[in-house]
Each structure stands twice: as structure tokens, then as C-alpha cells.
């Protein structure tokens, strides 16, 4: 039974090319450095007590964002390698990496950026903001929330360990289309790593989706009815509804692919009656809503940012809400536009083409509402506002490119071309990522108690904007010239090289932008005493998260006032609503820390690892252990502690003192 262990050790090998070795050195070096620092500064206990066992959504949010930023470095390194390869690998020159490595790199890039960067940043921000914004003390299920994070972290760990153990990742693209991803054509463990990293992280996302829907529908401030919810909360409700409907499809689809690969089933195989196109349908029935899962919270962030920095109420609140729900609905009936070339016939293609065009309408409504919010506002051009302005330009142009491709005959020409690549990067970088950078800058002082440096933030923004345009405008042009995506080599006579070099320079400038962001973070921490947020309301905010000190206490709000206005905090500041000072202190129940979320994540990691390497004893034992952890935790009736009214009063006065 344990005879298999030496085989895993034999797979624990040093890479064959300098890039893999470099990545391995970075992984080992990073882990070693963290362990050393924790030991030197005697912070292990602190790490365990304050972070690993925490159920506080604010801290869980920090951990989500930390993991996402680390993964961004890896996904960004992949992007850089692809750009260098395509700039150099012309004609007889083979560039810097082999064709097989190149395929692994683009597969890893897409997987990491969507599942572990965008999703991580999104859940991080949701954890930071949603409970505060609805005036709640916690999420509906704090333990489940921690478990969601640890499943996400386990998925991220699986992706990274694929570089070290087995030294290969899927080479089948970020969505692993069969029959290529079937055992017959991808015999190694690469696709299995892909499946199980996504499966584990995806189940975490599904649980988080359930949690936040219940939180938003059940935990709001008294008086805050649905049409008084802040727009970010609305957008999260829309996105989490999509998670609930879409992620089970992903779970089912990945399971079927895994059953094909491990038990010899024939869902998507090329023989025995399997149907590969069914996989493509299923994965996009999840995948298209997924795009909106990411962009809706970004829309919500921009709604908050624009309104705050224009010192105006959000324009067209009701139409914004309806636009969100129109997008939620429509996003489920457009999936086929990802494969018009499947040959479903003119009628089917026409339906999906028209639905795709229709979804641009609610999106357009939102764009205009933001512009009208700015109109006659007192605009402050802070970093979050700059991200918004950059977003408007890139997202609108990219969106129009999308409408163009929704015409099936046009799509037949542009399908799988770099035009498509440029389009969806406009949406995911210019839309999603710009939105999350704006959100992080905007809410950073709330969570950490000091602002990020504005000057370095501006440098970062301009680097990203210029870098983005240089990197992706050439791809639009190349796509129209006929360049398909995922080329590891092309003929010199095509005349594409100059544009690929420009795109490479663009990515390098984005890299400079990431450098400025790192610098901004370090500098801001160093100078934190100069940038302290002593008021709790550094931007002149409008919603409830700004009504408490920065950083907020673990229970968020000492007193629960009624929220009878859409901009609840603004109303309090204007003296139009009940002030917290008018209420007496009451006792507060807060959840106790628990390590079981971490344990469940860890055992899920081990179980997935066991399945990938066919160590069935490990897979079985680990999943059993995870289940036992879950049972022990759910049998525990003593999960909360009570802070007495007097204690809360003491804490609050101490907080106000310095």
C-alpha cells in the first residue's frame, strides 16, 4: 500500500528548462523565507491565533487577496513568457521555450488568472465589504466562510505543487477541451492537476456563494430593504446568484471529465459514443455566467467609487438594479456564442447571437448611469477614480468588439483569433481587474487603518493603462490579420513580428505597473503613520462601512441603528437619520476561532493529491478525515462567545481615546 511513495519522490525532480527551475526556486525560496521570518520574529502563535484559525470576514478577505496577489505574480510571469516567445519565435527561431512548455504556460496562465486571481480578489473584496455595507456584524455562516477560503487556498496550492511534483501542468488550454484533455491524448497528471485544483476551489466558491446570498438576504440592517441596499451589495447578490446557478454545472462537468480519465467512462471521449461537444456546451454553461460573476462586483465597485468621488447620489439607482438582474438572466442564454463554429445551424446561432447583442443594453445602461453620476458632480481624481476612467475607455471599446463578434458570420472569421484574445482581455483586465484595483485602493484604509500612497498609485495606473493599450491593441490588429491564438511559432513572411514585439513591450510596462503597486504597498506601510485614517471616513463616503472606525472592531458595529436611506451613512452625517450615539450598548455574540476550516482545506488538498496520483488510500483517508472534521465541528454547540455590554463600551471608548 505504501509502496507507491517512492514513485512520488521520483517525480519530485528539478525542472528541465531554466523557467521551471526558476519557478521551483521561487516556490521553495518563498516558502523557506516565510518559515524563517515567522521563526525569527516568533510569530507562529500569532499566525495561528490571528489568521489561520480566524473566522472574521475582514481577515479572511485579506488572506484571499494575499493568495490572489501571489498567484498574480505567477500568472503574470506566464504572460511575460508567452509574449517573449511570440516576439522571438519566428521562422526558424524556436524562441525561449518548447512547444509543449508553451502549451502548459498558456493553460496555466488562463486558469490561474481566472480562478485564483480574479476570483480571489473578488471574494476578498466581498468579504471585506459586504457585511460592513449591509450593517451586519458577520456573515451568515462564519465557519463555512473560512472553509471556503481554505478550499480556495488548497486549489491554489495544487496548481503550484504541479510545478514541483510531476513537473507538469495541463497543456489543454484553460478550459481543457476534450478529446485533447482525455487520457488518450493527455496521459500525464497535468490535466488531473487542472481538474482537481478547480474542483476543490470551485466547491469553495459554491459554498461562499450560498453564504453571501443568505448573508445579504437575511442579515441586513433593520430598515434596509432591498431597494435601499448599496449598489456593491446588489452587484454581489447578482454575482452570487450566478455562482449558485453556475458552479454546480462546473462541479458536474469536472467530475465527468475526471470519471472519464480515472474510471474509464465515456462522457467526452472520441469513441464509445462519447460526445466532446457536450463538454464544450456544459463548460460554457458555467463559463459564460462566470465572466459575469467577475464583472458584476467590479460594476458594483465602480458605482460606489463614482458616487463617492463625485459627491453625488448614484444616478439611476433603480435602472442599475434592473440592469444587474437583466445581466444575471441573459448571461445564462448566451453560452453558445463561444462556439458558433460548432455548426448548430443558423437558427440556433441567430438566437444566441441576438441574445449576446441584447446583453450589451443593460451594460450600456450602467455605463451611462456612471457618466451621469459624474455629470455636475464635484469630482476628485483620486486613484480609484482614475481606474474608473481607464475602465470606461477600455471596457467600452472591448465591449463593442464583443458585440461585433456576436454576429455569427463575423465570428466565423474571428473565432480563436487574437482579436478574441484582445477582446476578453479588455473585459477581464480593463473591466474586472481595474475594478478590483479601484476597490482595493478604495477600501484599503477601512481594513488597515491607513491610506495607500496616491502618487505611486497614479504611477501604477498609468503604467497599467499604457501597458494595456500597447499589449492588446496590436492583438486586435493581429487578429484581423489572421493570427490565431496559442501560436508558439509563426512564419516570418507573415509580417507579424513587429506587432508582437510591441505587445511584448506593453506587457513589460504592465510589469512596471505591478512593480509600482508593490512599491506603493511597501512605501505606504512604511509611512503608515502619515497616512492614518483617524476618522473612519477618509473619502467622505456614503454607505455604512464608513460609519465605523478603521480598522473596524471584530464585531464591526457596536450599535445597530436603523438604515432608512439608500446612502445610510450620508443620511447620518446630514443629521437625517438615527445616530449610533443615541443607542445604548448591548451585549454582542461573536464567533469563536476554529481551526477546522484549515483542516478541511488541508485534507481536501491531500485527497485531491491522492486522486491525481492514484494513491487511493490517501484519497480515501483524507476525504474521510475532512468529513470527520466537518462532523466534529457541526456537533459543537459552543461556537460563540458573548461580549458584555460593559466590555463593548470599554472597547469602544479605548478605541476613541488616542
Amino acid at each position: 500500500m505504501f509502496g507507491q511513495i517512492p514513485s512520488v519522490i521520483s517525480h519530485l525532480s528539478l525542472g528541465h528548462d531554466p523557467f521551471t527551475i526558476g519557478a521551483q526556486v521561487m516556490i521553495f525560496g518563498g516558502v523557506l523565507a516565510v518559515v524563517l521570518l515567522l521563526t525569527i520574529f516568533r510569530r507562529w502563535k500569532w499566525l495561528w491565533r490571528e489568521w489561520l484559525t480566524t473566522v472574521d470576514p475582514k481577515k479572511i478577505g485579506v488572506m484571499y487577496i494575499l493568495v490572489a496577489l501571489i498567484m498574480l505574480l505567477r500568472g503574470g510571469a506566464d504572460a511575460m513568457m508567452m509574449r517573449i516567445q511570440q516576439a522571438l519565435s519566428v521562422g526558424d527561431s524556436t524562441g525561449i521555450i518548447s512547444a509543449d512548455t508553451f502549451q502548459q504556460v498558456f493553460s496555466a496562465h488562463g486558469t490561474i488568472m481566472i480562478f485564483f486571481v480574479a476570483m480571489g480578489l473578488m471574494f476578498g473584496l466581498i468579504n471585506w465589504v459586504v457585511p460592513l455595507q449591509i450593517g451586519a456584524r458577520d456573515v451568515a455562516f462564519p465557519f463555512l466562510n473560512a472553509t471556503s477560503f481554505w478550499l480556495f487556498a488548497a486549489g491554489a496550492a495544487l496548481i503550484n505543487i504541479s510545478l514541483v511534483v510531476g513537473e507538469q501542468f495541463s497543456a489543454a488550454g484553460w478550459l481543457a477541451y476534450p478529446p485533447l484533455s482525455e487520457l488518450a491524448y493527455s496521459p500525464g497528471v497535468g490535466v488531473d492537476y487542472w481538474i482537481w485544483a478547480l474542483q476543490v476551489a470551485g466547491i469553495g466558491s459554491l459554498l461562499a456563494g450560498i453564504n453571501f446570498v443568505v448573508t445579504i438576504l437575511r442579515m441586513r440592517r433593520p430598515g434596509m430593504n432591498l431597494m435601499k441596499m448599496p449598489m456593491f451589495t446588489w452587484s454581489v447578490l447578482g454575482a452570487m446568484t450566478l455562482v449558485i446557478f453556475a458552479f454546480p454545472i462546473l462541479t458536474a462537468t469536472l467530475s465527468m471529465l475526471a470519471l472519464d480519465r480515472t474510471l474509464g467512462m465515456h462522457f467526452f471521449t472520441a469513441d464509445f459514443g462519447g460526445n466532446p461537444m457536450m463538454y464544450v456546451n456544459l463548460i460554457w454553461a458555467w463559463g459564460h455566467p462566470e465572466v459575469y460573476i467577475l464583472i458584476l462586483p467590479a460594476f458594483g465597485i465602480f458605482s460606489e467609487v463614482v458616487s463617492t468621488f463625485s459627491r453625488k447620489r448614484l444616478f439611476g439607482y433603480t435602472s442599475m438594479v434592473w440592469a444587474i438582474w437583466a445581466i444575471v438572466f441573459l448571461s445564462f442564454i448566451v453560452w453558445l456564442h463561444h462556439f458558433f463554429t460548432m455548426g448548430a445551424g443558423a437558427d440556433v446561432n441567430a438566437f444566441f447571437g441576438i441574445m449576446t447583442m441584447v446583453i450589451a443594453v443593460p451594460t450600456g445602461v450602467k455605463i451611462f448611469n456612471w457618466l451621469f453620476t459624474m455629470y455636475r458632480g464635484r469630482i476628485r481624481f483620486t486613484t480609484p477614480m482614475l481606474w474608473f476612467l481607464g475602465f470606461i475607455v477600455i471596457f467600452t471599446v472591448g465591449g463593442m468588439a464583443g458585440v461585433l463578434m456576436s454576429v455569427p458570420p463575423a465570428d466565423f472569421q474571428l473565432h480563436n483569433s487574437l482579436f478574441l484574445v484582445a477582446h476578453f482581455h479588455s473585459m477581464v483586465i480593463g473591466g474586472v481587474l481595474f475594478g478590483f484595483w479601484a476597490g482595493i485602493t478604495y477600501w484599503f484604509p477601512k481594513i488597515f487603518g491607513f491610506k495607500l500612497n496616491e502618487r505611486l498609485g497614479r504611477y501604477a495606473f498609468w503604467s497599467w493603462l499604457v501597458g494595456f493599450l500597447l499589449a492588446f491593441v496590436p492583438l486586435y490588429i493581429l487578429g484581423l490579420m489572421g493570427a490565431t491564438r496559442r501560436l508558439d511559432n509563426y512564419d516570418a513572411s507573415l509580417g507579424w513580428q513587429q506587432l508582437f514585439i510591441v505587445a511584448g513591450v506593453g506587457v513589460a510596462i504592465i510589469g512596471v505597473g505591478i512593480g509600482f503597486m508593490a512599491l506603493q504597498l511597501i512605501y505606504s506601510i512604511w509611512k503608515r503613520h502619515e497616512n492614518r485614517d483617524t476618522t473612519g471616513d477618509p473619502w467622505g463616503g456614503r454607505t455604512l462601512e464608513w460609519s465605523v472606525p478603521s480598522p473596524p472592531p471584530e464585531y464591526n458595529f457596536a450599535k445597530i441603528t436603523e438604515a432608512n436611506d439608500r446612502d445610510a451613512w450620508w443620511a447620518i452625517k446630514q443629521g437625517k437619520a438615527q445616530k449610533p450615539e443615541d443607542l445604548p450598548y448591548t451585549s454582542i455574540k461573536v464567533p469563536k476561532n476554529t481551526p477546522y476550516g484549515l483542516f478541511i482545506g488541508g485534507f481536501s488538498f491531500l485527497s485531491a493529491f491522492g486522486v491525481i496520483w492514484h494513491y487511493w488510500w490517501l484519497a480515501g483517508a483524507a476525504i474521510l478525515a475532512a468529513a470527520i472534521c466537518f462532523v466534529i465541528r457541526s456537533m459543537d454547540d459552543d461556537t460563540e462567545r458573548t461580549l458584555s455590554a460593559k466590555h463593548v463600551e470599554k472597547l469602544e471608548t479605548e478605541r476613541a481615546a488616542p
Partner: protein, 219 residues
């Protein structure tokens, strides 16, 4: 100790009226609402499970005739056998309902008896399903034979796996109620389990119809 029926009714009413505009801020309703969080969350979870099954049903619908020279649906399904399975599972679900009613009325012994009966019927169902699967496998009609059989085993097997998890859950519940008696918490957990059990019943009705009835008819 157990939750009074009136409290339960308030809770259900709050659940249903959660989205209503201008909710009362009274502390009683807020508390009832907080208590209803878990049930509501569990409903949402059941809906996600529903979509998981929907994906498997859709897959089965696409692949049911992709037999690749292997057995077709009318050749391997026996309606009388499946009818027996169905009756057993439906009875188990009904008995689970009786267990919840007894628990709400504070009748611990009856709650345990009904729960035990529901458990035994559920176990009989799983045993029959394993028998069906083993028989198919022994006739060389396993899941490797064709895409149709892959989708059949996965859809019906996923349901069977759920029932098995439900059995383990019921066993744990029975043991705690036997040892600690009925508390408001254990009645709540029993209610959640019963929701899960009824849900699996509904899924089975669809399997009975779409897989077996339509399968025997060949439509």
C-alpha cells in the same frame, strides 16, 4: 425544550416574507429570522444540488442512445424491480416526515422509531441499487461499455451516493437523539435531514420517469 410549533410557524413565515419591503425591526422577528438562516441556507444548498442533478440529467438525455453497440435502454431495465425501489424510497420519505412530526411533538421514542424505519428502508433502497449495478457489471454492461452506460451509472450512482450520505447523517442524528434526547437543535437538524431526504425523493421521481419509464418505452 423543543421548538414550539408557533415559533416554527413564525420562522417559516419570516423565511417566506424575507424579501418583503419595509421589514419590521422588532427584535422578536429579527431573532426568528436569525434562527431561520440555517434552513434558508440549506434550501439554497438544495437548489445548487438540484442544478448538479440537472446537469447529469441533461448529459443522460444527450447520451442515452449512444450505446456504441452495447445494450440499449429497454434491454437492461426491469420496471417491476425499479417500482419496488421507488415504493421503498417513497415510503422512507413518508416515514421521515412522521419522524419530524413526532420530534416536533416531543415524542422522542416515536421519533426514533420512525427514524429507524426510514433508515432501514433507505438502506434497503441502497442495497437494491447496488444489486442492480452489480448485476449489470457482471453481464459486462459496466460503465466502460458505452457513453450511455457511463451517464446512467453516474446519474443514478450520484443519487445513490446522496442517499448513502443521508443514511450516515440519519444514523448520527438517531444516536444523538437517543443519547441526549430532543433539543431544539436536534429537532432543527432532523428537519434539515428530512428536507434532504424529501429532496432525494423528488430527484428519484425524475430518475424513475426519465431513466426507467422512458427507457423501457424507448422514448
Amino acid at each position: 425544550m423543543y421548538m414550539k410549533y408557533s415559533e416554527r410557524a413564525t420562522e417559516l413565515a419570516t423565511q417566506q416574507g424575507a424579501q418583503s419591503v419595509g421589514r419590521a425591526a422588532g427584535s422578536a422577528s429579527r431573532q426568528a429570522e436569525a434562527a431561520g438562516k440555517t434552513e434558508f441556507g440549506f434550501w439554497v444548498y438544495l437548489m445548487t444540488d438540484c442544478i448538479l442533478f440537472a446537469s447529469l440529467f441533461a448529459t443522460f438525455a444527450v447520451l442515452r442512445d449512444s450505446t456504441f453497440g452495447g445494450p440499449t435502454r429497454p434491454e437492461i431495465f426491469s420496471l417491476s424491480f425499479v417500482l419496488l425501489e421507488t415504493m421503498i424510497l417513497l415510503t422512507s420519505s413518508f416515514v421521515a416526515g412522521l419522524a419530524v412530526l413526532a420530534a416536533r411533538a416531543g415524542q422522542r421514542t416515536w421519533a426514533l422509531r420512525w427514524l429507524l424505519l426510514a433508515f432501514l428502508l433507505g438502506a434497503a433502497f441502497v442495497a437494491l441499487e447496488i444489486h442492480e449495478f452489480a448485476k449489470l457489471a457482471s453481464e459486462d454492461h459496466g460503465w466502460r461499455r458505452s457513453a450511455f452506460l457511463s451517464s446512467f451509472f453516474t446519474l443514478v450512482g450520484t443519487h445513490g451516493l446522496h442517499v448513502t450520505i443521508g443514511l450516515i447523517w440519519a444514523g448520527g442524528l438517531g444516536l444523538t437523539i437517543w443519547k441526549k434526547g430532543l433539543t431544539s437543535l436536534s429537532v432543527k437538524r432532523l428537519t434539515l435531514w428530512a428536507m434532504f431526504w424529501h429532496f432525494l425523493d423528488i430527484v428519484w421521481i425524475f430518475i424513475f420517469t426519465i431513466v426507467y419509464l422512458m427507457g423501457v418505452a424507448g422514448v
